[in-house]
Every structure is written in C-alpha cells, then in structure tokens.
Symmetry: C2
Subunit: 193 residues, 2 copies
C-alpha cells in the first residue's frame, strides 16, 4: 500500500529497538520533509558507521583508530581497569570526570549464567597477565544479569594480585528517600559513611 521506497525505509526504522511501526512511519515522514542536504548527510554518516569506527584492540571501546584515545593517553592511570558492559558505559563514566584509569568493555553480560564466547573475558585475563594492573573496578549495570556477571569476573580474578572493587549502590542524587526502592535504600543504609 505504501510506495516501495517508503515501505523499505519504514521497515529499516522499525527494526531498531524501541521504534515501533507507527513511530517508524512518523520518522520517515518527518525526514521526507527535511532538506536533501540534511538527509544525505544522515545517510552518509550511517553508511560510514562501520568503516569509520572499530573496536579498540586493547579495551574494545569504539574508536577511530586501532587503539582508542583512552588506551593511548599516557596521562591516564595505567594500573586501574574499569570493566563495563558496553562502550556507552565508558562515555557515561567519562562524563563524571571521576575516573582517570583504563577500561575494558565486556560486550554484554552472562546469558543463562554462562559467559558464551562473545564476552571479552579471556582478553581481560590477558591484560591482567601482561599489564601492571593493581585494581579492577567492576562497573556492571545494577541488574540481576550485571550482578551475576560481576560475581563471575570477581571469582575469575581472585587468583590475580589485584584489588577488586564495585561501584557503590545508594540513593540517586536529587532523588527522594520516600520513592527509593527498598533494595536501593537498604544498600544506602548498609553502605552509609
């Protein structure tokens, strides 16, 4: 019923997470009303995504070079690795300006309590063998899967001479005690300082 080129683009947008078919229709109609330069620039950025970006060979962050700007920055603390699930977590932590060490992107979490063969866990072990790391910060998402993955990594690392730490759990700044969920509030009480 739709003209074919429209249908195809709607299908592409619908295939994205949290974009339903109705939203995809609206996005495509919105785009059609934009000027051609903007759309072409969008298409160009998209086409170049895979060629202009790769995973850092050391930490698996997204990077324009083989080694990312964080791994190749000599001013950063080379003895601390913060283990995260996804590259976006790095960007979030960097925004806080509270961490100046290195990162390691796992690429996800355990599935059915097994690491599968996509998680970059062997690569993390290699780094502990080859680099002079004294602390590993486990910065998984505060979810059941994130917790399980964090525990798995902590156990795996227990034979290495490194301090293992986790991000603190507690109240969100600007939040309201009355509305905090009980597990978070409980953590905030236990970890009071």
């Amino acid at each position: 019923m739709y003209p074919k080129p429209l249908k195809k683009l709607i299908d592409h947008f619908s295939s994205l997470p949290s974009v339903g078919p109705k939203m995809a229709e609206r996005l495509v109609i919105y785009l059609f009303k934009q000027n051609p330069e903007k759309i072409n620039d969008f298409a160009k950025s998209l086409a170049e995504l895979k060629t202009s970006l790769r995973y850092c060979e050391k930490c698996f962050n997204l990077s324009e070079q083989n080694i990312c700007s964080i791994c190749s920055d000599p001013k950063r603390d080379q003895t601390t690795i913060c283990v995260v699930e996804e590259p976006l977590d790095i960007f979030a932590i960097e925004k806080t300006k509270q961490f100046s060490g290195l990162y390691h992107v796992l690429g996800g979490v355990l599935e059915n309590l097994a690491p599968g063969n996509t998680l970059k866990i062997p690569e993390l072990e290699n780094r502990l063998k080859n680099e002079k790391i004294s602390e590993v910060i486990i910065a998984m998402n505060p979810t059941t899967e994130g917790d399980a993955t964090g525990l798995y990594i902590a156990r795996m690392l227990k034979d290495y001479p490194v301090k293992i730490t986790r991000l603190a759990r507690g109240l969100s700044t600007g939040g309201d005690i009355e509305y905090a969920d009980e597990i978070t509030l409980g953590s905030a009480i236990i970890n009071r300082r």
Copy 2:
C-alpha cells in the same frame, strides 16, 4: 568525548521527533553491531528517500510517479474526495478498505486559525472547479486544530455544489464505555443510530 563519526550519527538520530539523546546513543550502538550489508541498505534507502519519492501533483500523497497510484486508478470513485492532514492518514484509511474515492492531502492544519501558505487549500478549490466532485469528506484528526481546519474548509466549500461530510465520532471498537472520555461518549450518544 565520543569518536566524531559516532557523535555525528547520534546527533542525526537525536534530531528526529521523539528520539532523545540517550535513545539515539542506543540506536547507534545497536546499528554498529548489525552486519554491514544491513546498514548500507538502510543508508541507501535513506539517501534515496527524496529522489525516489515525490508529492503527487494532484492530491499531494507520497508517490513514486508524478501522479500517485490512487489518483491514476480508473476503478476508484472519481466523484468523492477525502481531505486529510498528512499522507500517513491515507495509508490508515486505505487499510480499512471502506473508502474507494480520491484523496487530498492538506499538509497540516491551520496555525493560529490561519491557513498560512503551505496548506494545499487553493489546490483543493481548483480540483472542485475542474473535477466532477459530488462529495468532500473532511477527515481531519479529532483535535482542536483538526476541527478548526475542518470548519475552515467546510466554510470555504459552501459555495460549491458538493455534499460535505465528516468522519463519525464515537466509541473505539474494543474500547470500554467506562473509560471513554466524556466528549467521545457524548458524541456516541448524539450520533446513535
């Protein structure tokens, strides 16, 4: 902080309606994990959007040809025009299979009760002068702006020998009287049949 190509694509996605910066980040990371063929096909569809589609010269529906498949279909009722706000409304009405006439896309609604110069109202008048139209169905969205626009068009058309009708207001099929808003329920009572 993001690699530049990533930042640029995130900005493009963020510029879309109902896509915030966080969602744009997630979409781009998701895309980065897809295979290159899929991304290239997406980029190609996007780049071709403006060249492969245009507005139908007669009804302003989206079309691959100068005249859309509806306007050029001799089997459709050439005496009835259904006036809609946007091309997506046509696709929604076509899905019902309850209408076999022609359409006219206004391209929006009145702003500050004035038609501005982007709405295709003069073009609608020309069609009434040049085609043998006996009924105009006003199918604006059931909003304040849609109603105002519908009234404006109805007044404009009163000197033409056409029947002017509007879409019925009433209960949604599968809905619940208890939860219907009072204006809708009121319309359903008044228009009972």
